[in-house]
């Protein structure tokens, strides 16, 4: 439940931060997972990112307000690294708005779950495979190495950087009310749309990529894709019990051994 004081902080105008402070915060969000560990996860990273904003608290970096806020913000926290910028913006805002400490702590705890799951579905299981498959399609269509890499990096990072900037902005402008931003249609329906787009792209990419990888031996394509389809079905059946890359490692190692030994 949000008290009157907390509500007032949502409605009050945001404190002003200089452009340099914003650049500092944004560049730090790129390193938010710098000290990621199994105990505090990205907690220290959150403290690292909000620190430039906290310097504006009464008394500056030597004041008790700054030190208390740093302790609070460097504790355990979990979020998708890109969506953590939402938390960074919102937490900086509530700290500078003078929201009472117990509210900040409850708010910080409440942010943890949604910022992890939304980001995982949208980015790791959506945007990243989609961009990767687009790049593979470009390769399959015969593009040279540099255009393939530029296509992949430009496309992926357009989404990546926009997400981080949006996160900081929405966190800062909405403060305690940031939860409503996570109901944005892009975040709710985006993963399903991306999944369909990526599925279609996968269909295009796999045969084209396999054909180019085979090079002069493209006559083998039918056999290769047939074998791949059977093996893919087997892998899907083994889902959760074995990792694809380990299967690949073992099979290629055995293949190499037989090739050398015979």
């Amino acid at each position: 439940m949000i008290t009157a004081a907390a509500q007032a902080s949502i409605m009050s105008p945001a404190p002003r931060l200089s452009a340099l402070t914003w650049v500092n915060i944004f560049s730090r969000t790129l390193a938010i997972q710098g000290s990621w560990n199994y105990e505090t996860l990205i907690g220290n990273g959150i403290g690292f990112c909000v620190e430039p904003a906290l310097r504006m608290l009464p008394g500056g970096v030597k004041g008790p307000s700054f030190k208390t806020a740093m302790t609070r913000q460097s504790a355990y926290f979990n979020a998708h690294p890109y969506f953590a910028s939402v938390a960074v913006g919102a937490l900086a805002r509530v700290e500078l708005s003078g929201v009472p400490a117990p509210h900040i702590e409850r708010f910080r705890t409440a942010l943890t779950g949604p910022l992890g799951s939304v980001g995982d579905r949208l980015v790791w299981a959506g945007w990243l495979p989609f961009c990767s498959l687009i790049a593979l399609t470009c390769f399959g269509l015969g593009m040279a190495p540099v255009p393939v890499l530029v296509t992949f990096l430009a496309l992926y990072n357009a989404g990546h950087l926009a997400l981080r900037v949006w996160g900081l902005h929405v966190g800062w402008t909405r403060g305690l009310g940031v939860a409503s931003a996570l109901g944005n249609p892009v975040l709710r329906q985006g993963p399903a749309h991306l999944a369909r787009a990526a599925a279609a792209t996968a269909g295009v990419a796999v045969p084209l990529t396999a054909a180019r990888l085979l090079g002069h031996h493209v006559a083998l394509l039918g056999v290769v894709l047939g074998a791949a389809a059977i093996a893919a079905v087997l892998l899907v059946r083994l889902q959760g019990r074995v990792e694809g890359y380990k299967v690949a490692l073992v099979l290629i190692a055995l293949f190499a051994l037989v090739s050398v030994a015979r």
Binding site: G34, W124, L128, N157, P207, V224, K246, S259
Partner: protein, 225 residues
């Protein structure tokens, strides 16, 4: 092995991109293997290894605290080995991919150790962190970044130094033909990619039809070209 130091530095720079800074996906196998190939003078061979690894890496979803292979240093090792061998000899690409997969497996274990190391550093700094020390927070972040760079650079250097002579010797006694060697690895990479695509996307309504439609378009494009 004059290329060892530049490759280790490349592995370090791309390795920190995977988790710590700035996650712009320079660490993806497609990018890392191509850059490594370019470093040793054969970007074209590097991208071939990178594409095979990228297909396999589609199955890796780096969710939260899950454990996953480390693709960046692995792709540098694989791309550099395939590029340095610089040969049309049968098995060169297969060996490059195998070296990368082995490095990815070991690299995943080093990531776990890095996270334990970061936790140990954080425990040591606990009193300062509890006192709200700005220096402790920034210091931990910088220590983590530096440790990750050193981890990835060392991993790249050690794996390349160990695997390159082995792969060269293996290639000398390789008996399978190039069509069989390449076809085998491409089949496996395509299978892992297909299974990954199904696992990731099948829950979306209609995704299987989108995949089938894409497959039709891809096949038509093959015939047209």
């Amino acid at each position: 092995m004059r290329e060892l130091l530049p490759l280790a530095l490349l592995g370090g720079v791309l390795g920190i991109d995977l988790v710590t800074f700035p996650q712009m996906m320079f660490s993806r196998p497609l990018v890392a293997a191509t850059l490594a190939g370019a470093f040793v003078g054969d970007a074209a061979r590097g991208i071939f290894v990178g594409v095979m690894l990228e297909l396999i890496a589609l199955a890796t979803l780096p969710f939260g605290a899950s454990r996953y292979p480390e693709w960046s240093s692995a792709a540098v090792v694989g791309g550099a080995i395939a590029g340095t061998l610089h040969t049309e000899q049968a098995g060169a690409l297969s060996i490059g991919v195998l070296a990368a997969l082995a490095t990815a497996w070991v690299g995943g274990m080093t990531l776990v150790q890095l996270r334990n190391w970061n936790a140990w550093l954080a425990r040591r700094k606990r009193p300062a962190l509890d006192a709200g020390s700005r220096g402790a927070v920034i210091g931990l972040q910088l220590a983590g970044l530096t440790s990750d760079f050193v981890r990835a650079a060392l991993l790249t250097a050690v794996c390349y130094a160990l695997l390159f002579p082995v792969t060269r010797a293996t290639l000398g006694t390789w008996s399978f033909s190039e069509p069989l060697s390449r076809g085998f690895v491409v089949s496996i990479a395509a299978a892992v990619a297909g299974a990954a695509a199904w696992t990731i996307f099948h829950t979306a309504r209609g995704a299987r039809w989108y995949f089938a439609g894409g497959l039709l378009v891809g096949t038509l494009l093959l015939f047209v070209r």
